[in-house]
């Protein structure tokens, strides 16, 4: 059974077909990159699957169960988590508290009013471990608003990861950071995600990054899936090259011009 399956998923904004009849199947343990030009519907697809937006029609099956009409919190509990393109953190909480909160939530402990959060040693240890995995141990007690952009992106991912989801959507985890930091961020994310065997869908523009890390690449164009396949298959797909780069040919993705 596939982990996630979308059936004729549709989301239109007026005339704009953001998600247009998408049928995508994701298997357990895959690392998938979702690529496509701006406005291709990648983020809308993430929004619909993570319940940030309701689909116009179609079905979302997660682990065999229909989750189409579940709320955000229900879908999080079911095991679907996501990070955001524009960093979405709890800015007046420390990096540690940001991660700890996700852990409290996962453990269904957030309703507890009569215990002190910072005395829960199991949660403390795990939050510190997660910060360590993402190289954020040094920022433990810094307010999220005071952390550099690249690290904020990582913290955003760490928050989603700390929920220990079965399926993790990462919407442009490297957007808005320097090319040098990009590789480092993706290395960190890929090693953590692969290490835990989490199924991940990453929206990404940088094709070097995409080819390097993905098991499978899904190309979206005008709301629909244009092509999908292994990095090699996509690299040699002329249609994809035309859509993404505006030119095709055997070395379209590697040519630097």
């Amino acid at each position: 059974m596939s982990l996630l399956q979308t059936v004729n998923l549709k989301k239109y904004f007026g005339e704009t077909r953001a998600v247009d009849n998408v049928n995508l199947t994701i298997e357990q343990g895959e690392f998938i990159s979702l690529v496509g030009p701006n406005g291709a519907g990648k983020t809308s697809f993430c929004h619909v699957v993570s319940a940030h937006l309701a689909p116009d029609s179609g079905q979302i099956l997660f682990n065999g169960a229909d989750v189409t009409h579940m709320s955000v919190t229900q879908r999080v509990k079911a095991g679907i988590a996501r990070s955001f393109q524009l960093v979405n953190l709890f800015d007046d909480l420390t990096a540690f508290d940001n991660v700890a909160l996700a852990i409290f939530s996962r453990e269904s402990k957030t309703a507890n009013m009569m215990a002190l959060a910072h005395l829960d040693s199991a949660v403390n240890a795990e939050a510190d471990a997660v910060l360590g995995q993402f190289g954020l141990a040094g920022k433990r007690d810094v307010l999220a608003r005071g952390i550099a952009q690249g690290e904020r992106k990582l913290l955003d991912v760490a928050l989603a990861y700390a929920l220990r989801p079965r399926l993790l959507f990462l919407d442009e985890p490297t957007s808005g950071v320097s090319t040098r930091d990009k590789g480092q961020i993706m290395d960190t994310i890929a090693s953590v995600v692969r290490g835990e065997g989490i199924t991940a869908v990453v929206v990404e523009h940088d094709m070097d990054v995409v080819f390097k890390y993905s098991d499978r690449i899904v190309v979206m164009h005008q709301g629909a899936i244009l092509a999908q396949g292994t990095p090699d298959q996509i690299r040699n797909n002329d249609e994809v090259a035309m859509v993404l780069l505006g030119s095709s040919g055997p070395d379209a993705f590697t040519r630097k011009d």
Partner: protein, 334 residues
């Protein structure tokens, strides 16, 4: 990982030390100051409980209520009804009844209000509180209208009838005993609220305050938690209203009217709503400010207005926030 102390959490022994010192000072004060000052400080502590409750919404959940007079007033009027109509004397019974009444009103109003945020939330809380005010104002055969309802301290007993206030020197004995009664409940309120804001639930509220969308995406049921915070907030402010009645001896629709909600907001802003102790300090300071402003000038509202303007322009983090910053600056230079 180094085994450094958990810097995220507050140091409990240190806080405990400070709390004990403050409590001892407060416990000695009635022996040092006169009856009037004792009474004034009791009012201050009562308002501090109200502001503490209010700030669970503003400071920790990010919701500005402009209708907390509703819960203060509900607490107060419930006590008045219990004493007048049920003939009860026990203050503890009044507290239980008052909290029950506040719970019902806060749960009902909160259910409606937390469907909205920002200014819409504020306006809704304001509107609902004014419904209660107009009821108290118009249904004079029940509420006494503008005359209000008298609750004489002589009719009340503390600690299940152990302490009563009849006979000679009853008023002085009441002021003295009631000060300690309020002090204990104030201390309990502070501890309970401190626990709540430092609990996982409190952290979840702060997450909702900072970013409600992301709070949902880490699995927090945002609206339900806002509702719970609203009810707790109302209960604290309701307790303040309950304790205020015997002190004041009378409850009138004034405490349900919107300017009183504004005063509660003023208290939190004056002390600093970003700090736990801000509303407490703010409530005590506001109480003295208003008392002496009223005594010294008939234009006391002008004086309070000036204070508010200065506060917003010069000390946006309030007394506690500004003091903390000043302290940090001096400390670092040393």
């Amino acid at each position: 990982m180094t085994m450094a102390p958990n810097r995220t959490g507050p140091s409990i022994p240190r806080l405990f030390g400070v709390a004990v010192v403050v409590l001892i000072v407060l416990a000695i004060l009635p022996y040092v100051v006169d009856v009037y000052q004792t009474q004034l400080l009791t009012y201050g502590m009562v308002f501090a409980i109200a502001a503490l409750g209010f700030n669970l919404l503003l400071g920790y959940t990010g919701l500005l209520s402009f209708g907390h007079s509703a819960y203060f007033g509900t607490g107060a009027y419930t006590v008045a009804f219990i004493v007048r109509d049920l003939g009860a004397h026990s203050m503890e019974l009044c507290i239980l009844g008052g909290l029950l009444g506040t719970f019902v009103v806060a749960a009902l109003f909160g259910y409606v209000c937390v469907r909205h945020t920002r200014i819409f939330f504020g306006i809704l809380t304001l509107a609902l509180s004014q419904v209660l005010w107009s009821l108290a104002f118009k249904f004079f055969w029940v509420t006494g209208g503008t005359d209000g309802i008298r609750v004489a301290s002589a009719n009340l007993t503390l600690l299940g009838g152990l302490v009563d206030f009849k006979g000679r020197g009853a008023f002085q004995r009441f002021v003295f005993a009631y000060y300690y009664y309020v002090l204990v409940l104030f201390a309990v309120s502070v501890v309970v609220m401190w626990m709540i804001v430092h609990s996982p639930f409190g952290k979840a509220l702060q997450a909702i305050r900072d970013n409600e969308v992301r709070a949902g995406f880490v699995g927090i049921p945002v609206r339900r938690y806002r509702w719970i915070a609203f009810v707790i907030s109302g209960l604290f402010t309701g307790l303040a209203g309950i304790l205020w009645v015997p002190l004041n001896g009378l409850t009138t629709p004034d405490i349900l009217y919107w300017p009183f909600s504004g005063e509660i907001v003023f208290m939190a802003v004056l002390g600093g709503f970003r700090n736990f102790t801000g509303p407490i300090v703010g409530a005590l300071a506001f109480n003295y400010l208003k008392t002496y402003a009223v005594a010294s000038s008939e234009y006391w509202q002008l004086l309070l207005g000036l204070v508010l303007v200065v506060l917003v322009l010069v000390l946006p983090t309030g007394i506690v926030g500004s003091t903390a910053r000043l302290y940090a600056r001096l400390f670092r230079r040393a």
